[in-house]
């Protein structure tokens, strides 16, 4: 069978649509996560989704639902705790990331037929072919809801991404918008878990935005191109995995990292900086 003939099957059509939607959403939310300096929180939270999904496997409930609960709880706790305790982002990551990983492995150990269970493997590495029609309905709803939300509160998000303190000084109550992005990132990560699994999901949130930010000096272009890069890398990763018969999640992350590496090499911003440093010497 030639690789593209795979898409004659409904299962692969669903996989392709999921890649497009999840890649787009991760690229979009990633811009806010990166620009609002929420990377550490996003990192902790995506592993919260992983731990939740593991609990779902252990308790034979829907991993998506438990993943969503864990990601949401992590998101809702981390934001206010970081604010109140004035903790550095690195401190939050250092504590919550290992805790979530420890919980995930405890839950997976408790799962029946541990280690061999295909569900355990799905949570760890992702399994795009297990996408169901209801998963797709969730993703489409999330896609539409996220786009509408970003459109309507764009000016607040735009100002906070520029500088949170100045946004406050201009009369914007920034906290609800930051919590909204953290929560949204948690939901998007959870619904994208089947794509690459809990161990690699974070790369998908971070890489597209970081790639586009190497080139553009206009935030409006960043917010358009980052989801497109997310979408293209996930679809390319899927095609590469089919072509070489490799795991989908790993291929997506490898493709997105290669794209980021090229962006780093070709970035006009970075070259300007190097020229500047050279001239200063």
């Amino acid at each position: 069978m030639i690789w593209f003939e795979w898409f004659e099957f409904a299962i692969m059509q669903r996989a392709l649509i999921a890649c497009i939607l999840a890649g787009f959403l991760m690229g979009l939310i990633g811009v806010f996560v990166v620009r609002m300096r929420l990377s550490a929180i996003g990192y902790s939270m995506s592993h919260g989704a992983f731990a939740g999904a593991a609990l779902g496997v252990a308790t034979a409930t829907n991993p998506l639902a438990t993943g969503l609960v864990f990601a949401s709880v992590t998101a809702l706790l981390i934001g206010p705790i970081a604010d109140k305790a004035r903790l550095h982002a690195d401190t939050i990551t250092s504590i919550v990331f290992p805790l979530n990983m420890a919980l995930a492995f405890v839950f997976l150990t408790l799962a029946p037929e541990v280690g061999l269970s295909s569900q355990v493997a799905n949570v760890l590495w992702g399994s795009i072919i297990s996408m169901t029609n209801s998963d797709l309905v969730f993703l489409v709803t999330l896609f539409a809801g996220t786009l509408a939300l970003v459109y309507f509160v764009w000016k607040e998000l735009f100002a906070i991404m520029f500088n949170r303190k100045l946004a406050e000084a201009d009369g914007i109550n920034t906290k609800p918008f930051i919590y909204m992005i953290i929560f949204l990132a948690g939901v998007v990560v959870t619904f994208s878990l089947k794509l690459v699994g809990g161990l690699l999901i974070y790369a998908l949130l971070f890489n597209p935005a970081s790639t586009v930010l190497q080139f553009s000096e206009n935030m409006r272009k960043v917010i358009v191109y980052s989801p497109l890069v997310g979408m293209i890398t996930t679809v390319t990763g899927l095609l590469v995995s089919l072509f070489f018969d490799l795991p989908v999640g790993s291929c997506i992350v490898i493709v997105s990292t290669i794209v980021f590496a090229f962006a780093l090499l070709l970035s006009p911003k970075r070259r300007r900086k190097e020229v500047q440093q050279h001239e200063e010497k």
């Binding site: 000016k155 520029f162 500088n163 406050e168 009369g171 930010l213 206009n218």
Partner: protein
């Protein structure tokens, strides 16, 4: 609060973010409508903390701040829509994806309702503010490519775009080139006079004290150590090793 009092601090003490020691200690002040006040003092004396306590960005742990007769901690969001604020040494890194016009337009955001987008009038107000400062040609330039002085002017235009009733300027002339150092203070004086703007200027360099400055507040170690006319402030500031002398510069 008397009718003329626009800002009032009563026994206010504030800790700067990330610090444990109070940077502002037991300060009581009243600023009247249309006053132009210089807040001077050495580095790390609490000037910036005082300014950020006034606009409610830093909550005092003791005392009360009232602006327009309203408690800033309760009505901060509403009050800050009327306060133009230029922070100290604000620099955008090279390569940051924001155009100068977009940054100025952000000054209007507090006036635009929730779930609403900027209107043509908002965009015009932002452009007018840029024209007023003389930087309309920078509108499409990325912030990160502008010089320190140009960025400072963009921040001033952002503060003016909201058509504020109070201007809080934290070292606003520090990065300006020699030409702008002459123009911008004149413009601030003009705005203060023509638009009845209550203006507070924080500085440790009082070389460019404005003609219309009628009051100087000296802050030292978080406390107000002097509050009076520029002439009377002169000996105090002169004797301080970290504050530039007023002598020969006050018009």
């Amino acid at each position: 609060m008397s009718e003329d009092a626009i800002i009032k601090l009563e026994g206010v003490s504030t800790v700067y973010e990330g610090e444990s020691r109070p940077a502002v200690k037991d300060v009581s002040l009243t600023i009247k409508r249309n006053e132009l006040v210089y807040i001077v003092g050495p580095n790390a004396s609490g000037k910036t903390t005082l300014l950020e306590t006034i606009n409610g960005l830093l909550p005092p742990f003791k005392g009360k701040v009232t602006v327009f007769g309203l408690d800033i901690q309760k009505k901060g969001q509403k009050i800050r829509c009327q306060i133009g604020y230029v922070p100290q040494d604000f620099m955008v890194k090279p390569g940051e994806p924001y155009k100068a016009f977009d940054v100025v337009l952000m000054g209007r955001y507090g006036h635009i309702g929730f779930l609403q987008h900027p209107t043509e009038q908002d965009k015009q107000a932002a452009l007018d503010a840029m024209k007023l400062i003389g930087i309309e040609d920078l509108a499409d330039r990325p912030m990160g490519k502008l010089s320190g002085g140009q960025q400072q002017k963009v921040m001033l235009a952002r503060a003016l775009a909201k058509k504020p009733k109070i201007l809080l300027l934290d070292e606003p002339f520090s990065n300006l080139d020699p030409d702008s150092r002459g123009q911008i203070p004149v413009l601030v004086t003009k705005l203060h006079r023509e638009q009845d703007l209550t203006t507070l200027i924080v500085t440790h360099d009082i070389h460019h004290m404005l003609d219309s400055c009628s009051r100087v507040i000296v802050v030292s170690d978080g406390r107000v150590t002097f509050d009076g006319t520029p002439e009377n402030a002169l000996p105090l500031v002169e004797n301080h090793p970290h504050t530039t002398s007023l002598e020969g510069h006050h018009h």
